[in-house]
């Protein structure tokens, strides 16, 4: 996950993103690549406290010096169904809503890849189902979504499942029942 998210470097092997090998890139180049190509969704949401939804979602845009960060943040929040909660603080939102803000933050730079680390881990079952529904929609839009999870049932919704046991890759499986062209992986 950390290597995929460019937060860590691989000890051995090669990692290419969008056809570009990352092993020789500087810290600054990696930061730019994280900003432009990867969106993170965490189990603990990692929203800034006492900072409203729009301001939380703006952050990646501000680091990339993007134009109209506020408008784009609002659009991303509307995309995840939080158009009515723009000025709410994280403390005022439910767990599911907080995770939606986090997804909006991951979406706002329009990245090719969304990395979700146990995204449903802190959510109740209904919110988790909602979230997976949202991921499926985004996947249908043509975005790569990698979900890391321990839930077998959750993994069944992915197009491709990669099982890792104790650091070893033990299974690669394609779920035929999914129509989406976008793979979703599992690391157990």
């Amino acid at each position: 996950m950390n290597i995929l998210g460019l937060l860590d470097r691989a000890d051995s092997g090669e990692y290419s993103i969008d056809g570009q090998s990352v092993s020789g890139l500087s810290a600054s180049a990696l930061a730019r690549m994280r900003n432009a190509k990867i969106g993170f969704v965490f189990q603990q949401f990692h929203l800034l406290p006492r900072t409203n939804a729009v301001e939380n979602v703006e952050i990646p845009l501000i680091y990339s010096n993007a134009d109209n960060p506020q408008e784009r943040a609002i659009a991303a929040l509307k995309r995840v169904g939080l158009g009515e909660r723009l000025k709410h603080y994280p403390e005022e939102l439910s767990g599911g809503q907080q995770q939606r803000v986090a997804i909006a933050r991951a979406l706002v730079t329009n990245p090719e890849l969304i990395l979700a680390d146990e995204p449903t881990g802190n959510l109740d079952k209904a919110s988790g189902e909602d979230l997976m529904g949202l991921f499926e929609e985004l996947s249908a839009d043509g975005r790569t979504i990698i979900v890391i999870t321990h839930h077998e049932k959750l993994a069944e919704r992915a197009k491709r499942v990669v099982r890792i046991d104790d650091g070893r890759l033990t299974e690669v499986r394609h779920n035929s029942k999914r129509s989406s062209a976008t793979p979703i992986g599992e690391v157990a």
Partner: protein, 405 residues
């Protein structure tokens, strides 16, 4: 990333933890206020010194009769009685000397009606007026006729008017100095305090001849005030006077000590200034201590803030912040805190200067330095004490930071 955006992040972060912000700001503010007050007090002392230099009279030397150190018969510790009106006349005519005024001191009880009090009696000549800047507000100063004819006339200081006349009109009134009746002919302008805390406002100016003949029955003088022609001529005048007096008094050829001493009044003040400076550096040390405490407070709070915000830092790095961005954000927070502290400190310090100056009567002045230096110092504190936490934040491993939340 642009600075103004960082400024926004920093403002938001400070706003999120207002109590912590308040704590850091007040720590810095206390130190800055202390510095502002000290600078104000220093500027006030300089101003007071400047004023007293102006009051003192320009390029002034005092030729004093010195204390005796030999002479068992007459006893040690008395004043030499060798300085005379003849010395004054000769000194007056030296090329380096602009003017000179002799002084015969007489003390004693002064009575007006039923009221009696002790004042300093200065027997002198009209030159005293210009040499020592004793200006007359009402009436006139003593003149050459008064001196020649030993008139019993007196010009009195503002304090004398306050103490003996209670708002009555003193000009033309008679006062008893000892048993001699004097007619009051003028009132001196109020001069205020000297740098050493004494005042000349309790002086009574009378003709030197009147003091010598009618009051004390002596021939000698206590001192002669000498005004040199210019600042550069002060050392020349000193040398000329010393040579002259040694020749006249017969001490130049012997190993005896001089029976006079010459004081450069401005140099005396400079010494005092130096003393107040060294006192100033002591208090400045205390202020530095207060500032350091404020800075350490800022450091502690910033470190705490970094530790508390590991998750935030990790997230910022994950969404594309460069290490530089994190560094700038935290440094900006420190600078904002210190500047707010600086502003509060200057306000408090300024108020202390204005109010304290009124209440204590100490000379304090609100100058641009009082504002500018504390601001620069607080900026310095921010950079010195903010750099370490900011660097620590910027060097954080995002994986560790994200996991620690």
């Amino acid at each position: 990333m642009r600075w103004h955006k960082n400024l926004r992040f920093s403002f938001r972060a400070l706003n999120r933890s207002r109590f912590r912000t308040l704590l850091s700001v007040s720590g810095v503010a206390i130190g800055i206020a202390a510095v502002a007050v000290l600078i104000g007090a220093g500027a006030g002392a300089d101003l007071a010194l400047q004023k007293s230099l102006e009051r003192l009279g320009e390029n002034l030397l005092a030729v004093n009769a010195s204390l005796t150190t030999t002479g068992a018969l007459r006893g040690e510790g008395r004043m030499h009685e060798t300085l005379t009106m003849d010395d004054w006349r000769r000194i007056k005519d030296l090329p380096s000397v602009k003017r000179a005024a002799p002084v015969a001191d007489g003390g004693g009880a002064v009575r007006v009606g039923a009221r009696a009090q002790s004042f300093t009696i200065v027997g002198t000549t009209p030159e005293f007026h210009a040499a020592k800047k004793f200006d007359v507000v009402t009436g006139r100063f003593i003149d050459d006729d008064d001196v020649a004819l030993r008139h019993r006339v007196a010009v009195i200081g503002a304090q004398v008017v306050d103490d003996l006349f209670f708002g009555e009109w003193p000009i033309g009134e008679t006062m008893l100095i000892g048993n001699n009746p004097f007619t009051i002919i003028g009132i001196l302008k109020r001069k205020g305090l000297n740098p050493d805390g004494t005042t000349d406002d309790g002086h009574i100016i009378v003709p030197v001849s009147t003091v010598q003949r009618r009051m004390l029955n002596v021939d000698h003088l206590a001192r002669i005030f000498v005004q040199a022609r210019s600042k550069d001529m002060i050392p020349v005048a000193e040398a000329e006077i010393a040579t002259l007096l040694r020749g006249e008094h017969g001490f130049g050829r012997s190993t005896y000590a001089d029976d006079f001493e010459i004081q450069d009044q401005a140099a005396l003040l400079a010494t005092q200034k130096k003393m107040s400076k060294s006192f100033g550096s002591l208090t400045l040390g205390l202020a530095a201590l207060a500032l350091t405490l404020g800075g350490v407070g800022l450091l502690a709070v910033s470190l705490l803030s970094v530790r508390e915000r590991y998750a935030e830092i990790g997230l910022r790095i994950a969404v594309g912040a460069h290490a530089r961005d994190i560094l700038i954000q935290f440094l900006t927070e420190s600078i904002l805190l210190a500047l707010m502290g600086g502003m509060a400190g200057v306000l408090v310090g300024g108020a202390c200067i204005l109010i304290g100056g009124q209440v204590t009567g100490w000379a304090m002045a609100l100058t641009w330095e009082t504002v500018a230096y504390p601001f620069l110092i607080s900026l310095g504190i921010a950079i010195v004490f903010g750099a370490f936490p900011a660097l620590r934040a910027a060097r954080l491993d995002p994986i560790v930071a994200l996991r620690s939340a």
